[in-house]
C-alpha cells in the first residue's frame, strides 16, 4: 500500500487522465471493437464448416499461390535490399540522394496505380513485356507477374531495416579483420553479415507478411485465373462480394494466423540474436 502511494507521488507530469482517455477511446473505436467483432463472429462459425471452407481445392490453391509468390518476392527483395543498403551506405556516387529518396516510392505510390502501370508494361504489347515475349516469356497474367508486383511493393522493407544498422556499425571491426588478414569476402561473411543479420531478417519477414496480404497491385497483373494466379486476398474479396461472410472470415483467419506466425518466428529469432550479441559483449 505504501509502495503504491509512493509510485503515484512520482507522477509529476500532468495530463495522464486526458491523454490516456483519448488514446483508449480512439483505439477502442478503430481497432479493439472491430477486432472483437471478428473474434465474436469467428467463434460462431461451426468448426466443420470452417474446415470445409478452407480445404476447398480452390482456396488451398490460392494459399499456395500467395505463399509461393510472396516468398519469391521477399527473397528477391532480401538480396537486392542488402545490396542497395550496402551501396547507399558505403559508396559515394552522383545521384545517391535521389536513389535514397526513390526507395520509399512504393510506400508513397498508391498500390492500384502501381498495379495498372506494371500490368501495362508487362503485357505482350507492353514496353517490357514485348521484349520478353520474343524470348517466349510471358509476365503479365502469370505468377511471374504477381512476383514482379510484389517485388515492387516490398522494396523499401529490407533496405530500410538494414541501412541504419550498417550506418552505425563501427569500422574498427572491419579494420581489425583486415589487419588479421581477412580478405574482403571473408570480412563480409564473418564480420559484417552477422552484425546486420537480425535487421536483415526482420526486413525480410516484414516484406513477406506485407506481400502475403497485398491486394491492390496484384489484382490487375494476376489475371486471377482460379488454381493458377488467384491469390488468397482475392478469394476473400470474391466471397465478400457474394455476401458470404462466413467463408470470407474462415479464409481470412488462416491468413491472419499465417502472418501472426511469421511475425512470431521473427520476434523469436530477434530475441535470440540479441542474446547472442549480448552474450559475446
Amino acid at each position: 500500500m505504501m509502495k503504491r502511494k509512493s509510485t503515484k507521488k512520482t507522477r509529476v507530469i500532468p495530463g495522464f487522465g486526458l491523454s490516456f482517455g483519448i488514446t483508449m477511446t480512439i483505439l477502442g473505436l478503430i481497432v479493439i471493437i472491430p477486432l472483437c467483432s471478428l473474434v465474436v463472429f469467428s467463434v460462431q462459425l461451426s468448426p466443420a464448416e470452417l474446415i470445409r471452407t478452407i480445404t476447398r481445392p480452390r482456396v488451398l490453391a490460392s494459399y499456395g499461390v500467395s505463399f509461393v509468390t510472396a516468398f519469391a518476392a521477399a527473397a528477391v527483395n532480401a538480396g537486392m535490399g542488402l545490396i542497395l543498403a550496402w551501396v547507399l551506405v558505403r559508396y559515394r556516387f552522383p545521384g545517391k540522394r535521389i536513389m535514397d529518396g526513390l526507395i520509399e516510392l512504393p510506400f508513397a505510390l498508391p498500390t492500384a496505380v502501381a498495379g495498372i502501370a506494371l500490368t501495362h508494361l508487362t503485357t505482350e504489347n507492353g514496353w517490357v513485356g514485348s521484349l520478353f515475349a520474343k524470348l517466349g516469356i510471358r509476365i503479365a497474367y502469370t505468377k511471374t507477374g504477381i512476383i514482379i508486383a510484389l517485388i515492387f511493393i516490398g522494396i523499401p522493407f529490407v533496405v530500410r531495416s538494414v541501412q541504419p544498422v550498417l550506418e552505425k556499425m563501427d569500422p574498427q571491426y572491419e579494420e581489425a579483420a583486415q589487419i588479421l588478414g581477412f580478405g574482403p569476402v571473408r570480412t563480409y561473411w564473418k564480420v559484417i553479415f552477422p552484425e546486420i543479420f537480425p535487421a536483415w531478417l526482420s526486413g525480410f519477414t516484414l516484406a513477406f507478411a506485407r506481400c502475403l496480404g497485398e491486394y491492390g497491385s496484384v489484382v490487375f497483373i494476376a489475371g486471377n485465373t482460379p488454381f493458377k494466379t488467384e491469390i488468397a486476398p482475392l478469394v476473400i474479396m470474391a466471397q465478400l462480394q457474394e455476401y458470404d461472410y462466413a467463408s470470407a472470415t474462415s479464409i481470412a483467419l488462416v491468413m491472419l494466423l499465417a502472418s501472426f506466425l511469421i511475425l512470431l518466428i521473427n520476434a523469436f529469432i530477434q530475441s535470440r540474436a540479441s542474446k547472442k550479441v549480448s552474450g559475446i559483449v
Binding site: I26, I32, S37, V113, A117, Y245
Partner: protein, 280 residues
C-alpha cells in the same frame, strides 16, 4: 598485386552501383514514366478532360475528405498515445503498442472484412444503426473508417521513438515549476516533435490517398458517391478507358513525388534539430 586488388574492388563497386541503378530504374522509374506517357498520349486536352471529368472531381473530393479525417483522428490519437506511453508508467503499455501497430500487419482486404463484420447485417450493432438511419458500410463513413484504420499507426510510430529518446526530465522540471499540461506540451514537448509530427503527417497523407483494398471492400463503388481516386482508377481501367485511368493516376503520381521530396526535406530538418538539441 596490390594494384590488381584495388582495380578488382573498384570494378566490383561499379558493378554493384550499376546493378542498383538498373534495378531501381526498371522497377520504380519506368512505371512512373509509363503512367505520365500514357496519360498524355492522346494530347494535353484529352488529359485535361479526363481529370476535370465530373466523376473524377468527385473522386478527388472524397479522397480529400477521407485524408483529412484520417489526418485529424490519427494526429489527435498519435499525440495522446505518444504522450501517455512515453511520459508515464502504467501496466499494459506493451499491449497498447501492439494494438496500435496491428493495422500495419493486417491485409487491407481483411481490414475491410472486419469493418463489414462490425457494422454489417450480422452485427449486433446493425439494428441500432438501422433505426437511427446511419449507413456505414457501402457508404462514405465506411470509406473514412477504412482509411483511418490503415493509416492508424503512422503518426504515433514517428512520435514515440523521438519522445522516448528525449526522456521526461524537461517535462518534470516544467511540471515542478507549476506549468499545466497544455503549457508543458506547447512549450516543452512540441518543439522536440515538430519535425517528426510533420513527417508522420506526410506519410499518413500518402498512405491515406492510396488505400485501395480496404476501401474497396467498404465502398459500394458508387460513381460520384463512394469512389475514391484509386477506386475510380480501377473503374476506368476495367472499362478500358486507359487514357483516363492513367490521367487520374498521374495526379496520384505527382502527389507521391511531392511526398517523397517533402519526406527527405523533413528527415534532414529533423536530424538537424535533434543534433542541435544534443550538442547545442
Amino acid at each position: 598485386m596490390e594494384k590488381t586488388e584495388k582495380t578488382s574492388r573498384r570494378i566490383f563497386r561499379y558493378f554493384l552501383i550499376l546493378l542498383c541503378a538498373v534495378f531501381l530504374t526498371v522497377m520504380l522509374i519506368l512505371p512512373l514514366v509509363y503512367i505520365i506517357a500514357t496519360a498524355l498520349r492522346e494530347g494535353f486536352s484529352a488529359y485535361l478532360a479526363a481529370i476535370t471529368d465530373e466523376y473524377a472531381l468527385d473522386a478527388v473530393l472524397l479522397t480529400l475528405k477521407a485524408v483529412l479525417w484520417a489526418l485529424g483522428v490519427n494526429t489527435l490519437f498519435g499525440l495522446c498515445a505518444a504522450w501517455c506511453i512515453t511520459k508515464f508508467h502504467f501496466k499494459g503499455k506493451k499491449v497498447i503498442s501492439t494494438l496500435i501497430d496491428l493495422p500495419l500487419t493486417v491485409s487491407p482486404v481483411i481490414a475491410g472484412l472486419i469493418f463489414v463484420l462490425t457494422f454489417g447485417r450480422q452485427s449486433f450493432l446493425y439494428d441500432g444503426l438501422q433505426r437511427m438511419n446511419i449507413k456505414i458500410i457501402f457508404a462514405v463513413p465506411g470509406v473514412i473508417l477504412a482509411t483511418i484504420f490503415v493509416t492508424f499507426p503512422y503518426i504515433s510510430r514517428e512520435l514515440i521513438p523521438v519522445l522516448t529518446a528525449e526522456g521526461t526530465d524537461e517535462e518534470e522540471a516544467a511540471a515542478l515549476m507549476g506549468a499545466g499540461a497544455f503549457t508543458i506540451f506547447r512549450k516543452v514537448t512540441f518543439p522536440h516533435i515538430k519535425w517528426a509530427l510533420l513527417y508522420g503527417v506526410v506519410l499518413c497523407t500518402a498512405r491515406a490517398m492510396g488505400e485501395f483494398g480496404a476501401v474497396s471492400v467498404l465502398s459500394g463503388h458508387l460513381r460520384g458517391k463512394t469512389n475514391t481516386m484509386p477506386l475510380y482508377v480501377e473503374l476506368l481501367y476495367q472499362g478500358y478507358d486507359f487514357t483516363g485511368a492513367f490521367a487520374v493516376s498521374s495526379l496520384l503520381v505527382i502527389m507521391a513525388v511531392v511526398v517523397l521530396v517533402l519526406r527527405s526535406v523533413l528527415e534532414y530538418k529533423g536530424k538537424k534539430s535533434q543534433e542541435r538539441n544534443h550538442y547545442g
